[in-house]
Amino acid sequence: MNAPFDSCVITPAGSAAGPWRARLQLGFERRGERTVLAERSHIGPLRLQKALYPEGERICHGIVLHPPAGIAGGDELSIDVTVGAGAHALLTTPGAGKWYRSAGAEGRLRQCIEIAPGALCEWVPQESIVFDCALGRLETRVELQGDAAFVGMEMVRFGRSASGERFTAGDFRSAIRISRDGRPVWLERSRIDGGGRLLEAGVGLAGWPVSGTLIVATPVVEDEVLEAWRGVAPIEGDGAVTRLPGVLLARFRGSSCEAGREWFVKLWSAIRPRVAGVPVTVPRIWNT
């Protein structure tokens, strides 16, 4: 059952042609009651697989595809998304992202999301798996303007722990910065070394292989939402929530991405009617 993984490790996609340099640019705009994909361009194999309207024409769902299904050492990928005034876009991925083992070069993914006043972007990719010996660099920048809103979900598994693999070497670094009108409201820079102390330490992942964050950035977070979030706990693993100015945040560490995601969906459901006017519709691709 590990064959597909192992073949990817031995022959990372893109290796025949050298590392990937890929870029995807997406621009969503509101036209009348509809959110349309007004701009879509790509260089290299990074693309938008589909734009769907499962919730009606107001909300555009997009599925972002990294063609070799993962990022290998030396790859440089970048995704730029703009969501225009009043538009509502939801972006996800067709499956787990992968950061492959590297022989020495770093793999990079840069994500930049700009959200105009009155707009909402829900950035809910499926989990990422950091293979043992990966050298991953993830940079996420979210720029909100005026009363724009953002929902971001991140779930990372260190090592293919389902098949017993641990993250023993390499390192994974992720930097996220969310700003509103140019001033940061959330900033985190993580660095997890393979085999390093943070994987086991109580201040870090305490031996759990999965780490997740759900963040909602809106101009105001009402007390009732914070209370609702506090009333839901993950069925497995360790999770807690807090509220910062303009930010509601949930953290998870556990052994199962599914448990983390299930918890995050409950939390997302508790706030979505307020930020989007409608309940959560879980992307169907998550179930395939």
């Binding site: 993580s190 870090g204 807090t242 910062l244």
Partner: protein, 226 residues
């Protein structure tokens, strides 16, 4: 010599900024039984020293001192904003804002120190000065170099954390001093690394701290404010 005396004043637990009212999650960890012994305390605080305070707050403090020395107000505002945005939970953010506010007020109450005048004015122009921002202003005004200021700041944090553990676990005073001696011996290496760390390599990922502090927000009986 005067710089050292000023530094001792700045790093002293007698500095009236209320540091002793914050446990940074320790109170919850003790309540929940995750921290029970002197060894548990040493491990928790040592890891935070390494992966939290030492790898983000300390290099940021050194950068702040540099910005105060150059009177670079744009950089000061940027670093202050970044530090506030990096606070993991409501209580950790409230802590640095309250301590920053108290320190700015204190510096304003020291009119005899002409060297503080410029920094005071700049500090009052920042809408929410974080504690390290205000602390760095005083360090720069008193001409305390970064290589002395950073270990002193780390020491003050360490002392406060150990005292919170002594109160909550509880531990004896000798255990507290043993912890300070052991953890203190790690400060030089942490400082050296912090001073050499380029900003792109600063990191502050300590989800265990964030979880503990988030839970402290709803802890039933609390002596500490974080």
């Amino acid at each position: 010599m005067l710089a050292l005396v000023r530094l001792l004043q700045l790093a002293s637990p007698a500095l009236p900024v209320g540091a002793y009212t914050y446990s940074q999650g320790l109170e919850w960890l003790v309540e929940s039984g995750e921290i029970k012994t002197e060894a548990d305390v040493a491990e928790w605080i040592g890891d935070l020293l390494e992966f939290g305070v030492g790898s983000f707050e300390a290099p940021l403090l050194a950068a702040l001192i540099g910005a105060w020395q150059r009177d670079d107000t744009i950089e000061l505002a940027r670093l202050n904003d970044d530090f506030l945005a990096s606070r993991e939970t409501a209580e950790l953010r409230a802590e640095t804002v309250q301590m920053g506010y108290s320190l700015v007020r204190l510096l304003s109450d020291l009119p005899g120190f002409a060297e503080l005048a410029a920094g005071r004015e700049r500090l009052l122009a920042i809408d929410e000065p974080a504690f390290p921002t205000a602390w760095a202003a005083a360090a720069a005004a008193w001409r305390i170099p970064g290589e002395m200021a950073v270990p002193a700041y780390l020491w003050a944090w360490l002392e406060n954390q150990v005292m919170a553990a002594v109160k909550t676990v509880p531990l004896g005073q000798s255990a507290g001093q043993r912890l300070l001696a052991a953890l203190g011996s790690r400060v030089p290496a942490v400082t050296e690394r912090a001073l050499a760390l380029p900003e792109a390599d600063w990191h502050n990922f300590t989800p265990g701290l964030a979880l503990a502090c988030s839970r402290h927000e709803t802890q039933y009986t609390r002596l500490f404010r974080s």
